[in-house]
């Protein structure tokens, strides 16, 4: 079964007809020519497909595109441009927050969404008291970023980059 849906991706509106089985991730990469989100595990376990969907970070591999008709999506490519990098992108460069780079677009989208959640006062498993406003500690950042795997093991520099971008 095919359906026609409209998505806004990095500021550009796309109306497209898709099979119901197509995920947001496959729609972005294979149909709309937006390769920034990466396909790692394709089962919601690695975080490399993370984008901001209606302002919140989500894994796109477990989301059928037809369910998200009308959504506004921002990928790592849409956060900034080569001439004007987003502060999170610049911080990843400054701190060597990657090696091979495959997980990086997902890490950056996740980090941006994560800081919004932290600034909104959402608790995490690292928060000593879920009822109190959380603090932006390295422990909080590590816990909140645990859904993004980096098999090169750049975690130390990723946390440092996020700490700097948060300031």
């Amino acid at each position: 079964m095919e359906m026609t849906i409209t998505l806004t991706v990095d500021g550009e509106s796309h109306t497209t007809t898709v099979d119901t089985r197509v995920t947001v991730l496959d729609l972005l990469r294979e149909r709309l020519g937006v390769p920034a989100p990466k396909k790692g595990c394709d089962h919601g376990q690695c975080g490399s497909c993370t984008v901001l969907l209606d302002g919140r970070r989500v894994t796109t591999c477990l989301a059928f595109a037809v369910q998200h008709d009308g959504a506004e999506i921002v990928t790592a490519a849409g956060l900034g441009s080569a001439e004007a990098l987003h502060p999170m992108q610049q911080a990843f460069l400054d701190h060597d927050g990657f090696q091979c780079g495959y997980c990086t677009p997902g890490q950056i989208c996740s980090a941006v969404g994560m800081l919004d959640e932290l600034n909104a006062g959402w608790p995490s498993h690292a928060s000593p008291d879920v009822a109190a406003p959380p603090e932006r500690t390295p422990e909080e950042i590590r816990e909140r970023m645990s859904g993004n795997l980096c098999r090169c093991g750049a975690y130390v520099n990723i946390v440092a980059a996020i700490e700097e971008a948060a300031q």
Binding site: G44, T59, L62, A63, V130, G147
Partner: protein, 325 residues
Amino acid sequence: MRAFEFERADDAHAAVALVAQRPKAAFLGGGTNLVDHMKLGIAAPELLVDVTRLPFDAVEERDGGVRIGGAVRNSVLSADPLIRERYPVLSEALVAGASGQLRNLATTAGNLLQRTRCLYFQDRTTPCNKRVPGSGCSAIPGNSRELGILGVSEHCIATHPSDMAVAMAALDAVVQVRGPAGAREIPIGDLHRLPGDAPQRDTTLEHGELITAVDLPAVPGASAYRKVRDRSSYAFALISVGAVLEVAAGEVADVRIALGGVAHKPWRAEHAEAQLRGGPATEDAFRAAAEAELEAATPNDDNAFKVPLARNTIVAVLRDLAGRS
């Protein structure tokens, strides 16, 4: 993946009618478990009915307690001020589950209805009584380190994977359901089943029944959730404990204990609770009650470690809560 039709329901009646009239139709929430099952080839619905845009997306005070809409996202629920203040066990359980990205998609109703992470259930090349009734259980003679020790059967030793549901079990939540025959409410202890000889059925819901809300009654005392797992984040529980404890004059006035990672459903430790009520709120009493509860455990060599782990985790949580009273 099998082809399927997709509908977006505008109201609950329409959603229920759409699913009820098609045996192979299913509701779609956040999709974090069902979409994965469709990719793995262990679920093949012919029709998905999206219920995430139904008006069940609020957390509100009701009758002295709180009503949580079935479509409320796990992340939003964990951050809700009412939940954080009054039901910390639930907020703590939610943030102990999955990852930030998954919690932003997953819904309250979908979390309750997620299925076991037993390796064999998720691998369609192996026998599994839950996936293919009568095909046999691969886990009993196989890798069962993460599986059940309480209420298991010769047909299935799967565990329920939810953290949220364990907290809700400790809170005596009531699940609001709407189906083809009308609305009904189910105490959360009666929502999930033990496997028995029908492990293919996780819950007591009938086809076409939709979870619209979960009600939490007012709870006296302090509450907490503790999860023990192989790594400190983003892993399922080996053992988890959600508990509510009220201590008055050194005695246990009220206690509710629910265990995760041990059974086919969130396991209310009713024997331990009965033994503790009215008795001293001491570590010795907590340990004795935990041991009494776990006398019924039937572990195997792979998961025997869960018995002392469960005991110690119960004691640690109750000791912590008693220290706050």
